[in-house]
Amino acid sequence: MNEIWVFAEQRDGKLESVALELLSKGRELAAKSGYRLAAVLLSENGEALAPELFAYGAQKVYRLDDPRFAYYQNDWWSEAFVSLVREKGPEIVLVGATTVGRSLAPTAASILHCGLTADCTRLDFDPETKLLLQTRPAFGGNIMATIVCADTRPQMATVRPNVFKKEPLPGAPSGGELVNVPVDLSGVPCRMKRLKVVKEGGDDVNLAEAKAIVSGGRGLGSPEKFSLVRELASVLGAAVGASRATVDAGWISPLHQVGQTGKTVCPKLYVAVGISGAIQHLAGMQSSDTIVAINSDPNAPIFDVADYGLVGDLNEIVPAIVAAVKARRGA
């Protein structure tokens, strides 16, 4: 039977949220296509993760367990993944567009000689042609393109975190089929090894996975005014982002930069404070779910993509929002 696969990325024995988001979306594609939904889990001692994959709709879990899968190493992981694809022949393979997925997917597609579409924001299945319709923004989000792979299999796509909603199956967990796949990596050389991991900054810099982001731009006027952004971020439980102009001016670390030359993000909530909305910034944030813009210029391009626009002096508006959120919580 044909299958849709989701790469069940784990780090340090914990599943990445994007894998569960892809399973949630995968259920919809499975229903439309009649294909089975399977998760592929490469891990070391990862048996505890299978039930979670079933809970999000995987009907089958291929589990490859090996000490070499303790952390992502491109040579071993891509070799094991590609071997399994060749053996089982899935129709569709979905991979989260994380720093891991964006190494694995292009390597695998190159080996398999199949099509790969990056950063899809919409996935659909056409029952007539039996093709996966992969829609992604192009040219900085100015146009949308739907991509298909008619002749090669599997049809591979990556999707960024937070693009699809993570929804567990309703009702009691029912389990699924667990397939333990033997791992044979003999003869695959180890050409790279990880020596050290350094976590930087606080939680407020992991923009790719943040559910909410408050970003500051040149409209802040001075680096000190990032305190306004941080305060609003703090009450909203958000990470702190920044425009290229503020990073270039040295107001804040490049780790915070959102935009085409920074990070592309798609949180549930994006608040742009004093950001006018240059194309290169919009390209990095316009697929966010709900966008709020605060700017003194009512004609700023940022308002074209904002669900909610607040026009005026950010020095007054931001504290007013902080107060309103606190008041609501207190009520």
């Binding site: 964006r102 990056a118 192009a138 909203l236 308002f303 909610y308």
Partner: protein, 266 residues
Amino acid sequence: MKIAVCIKQVPDSDKVTIDRTTNRLNRAGVPAIVNPFDENALEMALKLKDANPGTTVTVVTMGPPPAAEVIKTAVAHGADGGVLICGREFGGADTWATGYTIALAIRKLQEDGGPFDLVLFGKQATDGDTAQVGPGIANNLGLPCLTYAKSCEVAGGDAFRVVRMTEDGTEEWEVQRPCALTVVKEAGELRIASLRGKMKAKSYQPPVWGVEELQPNPDFIGLKGSPTRVSKVFAPPVKSNREKFSGTPAEQAAALVERLAARQLV
């Protein structure tokens, strides 16, 4: 040491506009630039060249004849030379076909001048944003590939010490020579072109290689060799319920928080 840097000519995305009737890029009048991340990759190569005398840096690009400009630019900034892959047959290539084609050119460079120790790419190009071609070329060349590298140093005779960026910090890796890296902005801004470099670039004409020189499998190049097809292009959906509030800061804030609460965002 021998380093290859793959670079791409892209439209300056700060200046691009879209024709809304055709949903095509208005290319006319838009300046073409070196993909910003490829500049960072070139800078990484030039830093290694500074630290390791005798190193040569060769740039490789694929595109129409005007793309020769990016090679000349690279030479002005300190690259030793380059090659342009050009030909109608390569047109319409997706990331798979592009990876295959550029790998052929790197192989040919190696046949002529000896193996590369390092092949560098920008982490992605700003026109396509796929981040797929670098790992694809690496695979075609059989090289180990690390993505999102911010620094690279020679570690002993046969390895590089590489620091790469992840979602929440950095990792330090040791990777065997030869290898391939995709490079992030944190590798550093491209140095200013020297007067001597500019003079050299002025008269430099890169060799142009087509199907004749590369002898590709015709089924693997251009549109024909591309597994992906664009089936539809359309304008991004405009958010229909956009609201711009008015009133005092407190009134606007209250209205916003009410909407956010309705969407369960506060």
